[in-house]
Amino acid sequence: MNYLSDSLLAAVVLIFSFNREVQLAVWTSLYTATVAIIVAAVFGVPVGLWLGLKRFRGRRLLITLLNTLMAMPTVVIGLVLFGLFSRQGPLGEFGLLFTPIAMIAGQTVLAIPIVANYVLACVNGADQRVIDTARTLGATQFQASIQLIKEIRFGVMAALIAGFGRVIGEVGVAMMLGGNIRGSTRTMTTAIALETSKGEFVFGLSLGIVLLCVALIVNLFLNMLQQR
């Protein structure tokens, strides 16, 4: 087991050495994931609310499709967006491939079904009287939905946390659309994948521990926000 303990030790050393490259990768991971989760929330939360509240034909089918999207491998999302962003693709002229923007786009696509699904589950679990009560007090459908979000805010927060975790820990999209370019699109996860492919297991694992520490700090911070 000294392989695992070696990694732990290396992680501690890594954290306190303030290695420039590691810092940069942490930063890239953090800001792409943050932007992606914000954009995903803008789309995913309303979708989840809508599927949770409205009753219409085909609703169950849509939910099943949403569930299916959660099984989408990240590399497939990468492939599809690659087709969009590549030189020959419809958005090729903007030269977005292998930039953080392409990564963020992919991560957003990845996070939307997760956020939507989680919010849907929360809406299903929420007290059925919330919307009615708000409406009888004079709220429009939109205002009532906002009130519902407030009532299930812990669930929505959990949805965003789940999505954030998924995005910051994923590697397929970041690799495929970001390109793992040193100093620019290298994230913690692509760095880990790289070290692993080099056979530098201890270093890869210690980077993984650093990533988990970063995620822990973010979660502690969100947790603090929640408790206020």
């Binding site: 919330v130 009560t133 009888t136 007090l137 004079g138 709220a139 429009t140």
Partner: protein, 219 residues
């Protein structure tokens, strides 16, 4: 004077339950008491009037209230459920909900909230957590939450069922006084003498139909 609400050729069914009302017009600034056995359809009728559920057939109109759209209408018609839902947060947050929607200024909100709470016998309850109230207290808060913005039509589902016996006269007095402030009240009750005490007009549901208003109501 135009009726506050008028129902015509109304039919509502759900499973084996069936509610049908040929015609009903409620006059402004009056108190109506709705009675009927358990499962007769009192709550259903109130929910239809509160625009929460749609009847399969027939029309529900509010000629005396607004010519605006449904969203305008909803600001004037309110409904307090039989087991009301209070929003998370404090009692004050709950009462402020309707006031905020209507753009009432912060200071005025505070004034009205404390006034209304004292009316329902909950002085000083502003900062209590809404989810940590007893049943009767919850019912009082829900009533206050509706009263605070003075609706034109107030629909109450068994509002005094869980109110303690010493406070009941105060509540009945309150219901009786509301028309003076321009509020039309419809409340359901299982207490056959309550309607009399308040001087409310009886609406009695039986076999899925409204009984003629002059027949003796057995509930």
């Amino acid at each position: 004077m135009e009726p506050v609400v008028s129902l015509k050729h109304l039919l509502f069914t759900r499973g084996s339950f069936r509610l049908s009302i040929e015609s009903l017009e409620l006059v402004p600034k009056k108190v109506y008491a709705l009675t009927g056995a358990n499962g007769a359809g009192k709550s259903t009728l109130l929910r239809i009037m509160a625009l929460l559920i749609n009847p399969q057939r027939g029309v529900v109109q509010f000629p005396g209230i607004t010519t605006g759209d449904a969203d305008h209408l909803r600001r004037q018609v309110t409904y307090v459920e039989q087991s009301p839902y209070l929003f998370q947060g404090t009692v004050s947050d709950n009462l402020a909900f309707g006031l905020k929607l209507r753009g009432v200024a912060r200071q005025e909100q505070i004034r009205r909230i404390s006034l209304t709470l004292s009316i329902v016998g909950l002085e000083g309850f502003e900062q209590r957590k809404a989810k940590e109230l007893s049943c009767g207290e919850t019912q009082r808060v829900a009533l206050a939450r509706a009263l605070v913005f003075k609706p034109d039509l107030l629909l109450l589902d068994e509002p005094t069922a869980n109110i303690d016996v010493n406070s009941r006269p105060a509540f009945e007095g309150l219901l009786a006084r509301l028309p003076k402030y321009g509020v039309t009240v419809v409340f359901s009750t299982h207490d056959r003498f309550q309607a009399q005490r308040i001087g409310a007009e009886l609406l009695c549901i039986r076999d899925g139909m409204l009984q003629a208003q002059d027949t003796l109501c057995l509930f």
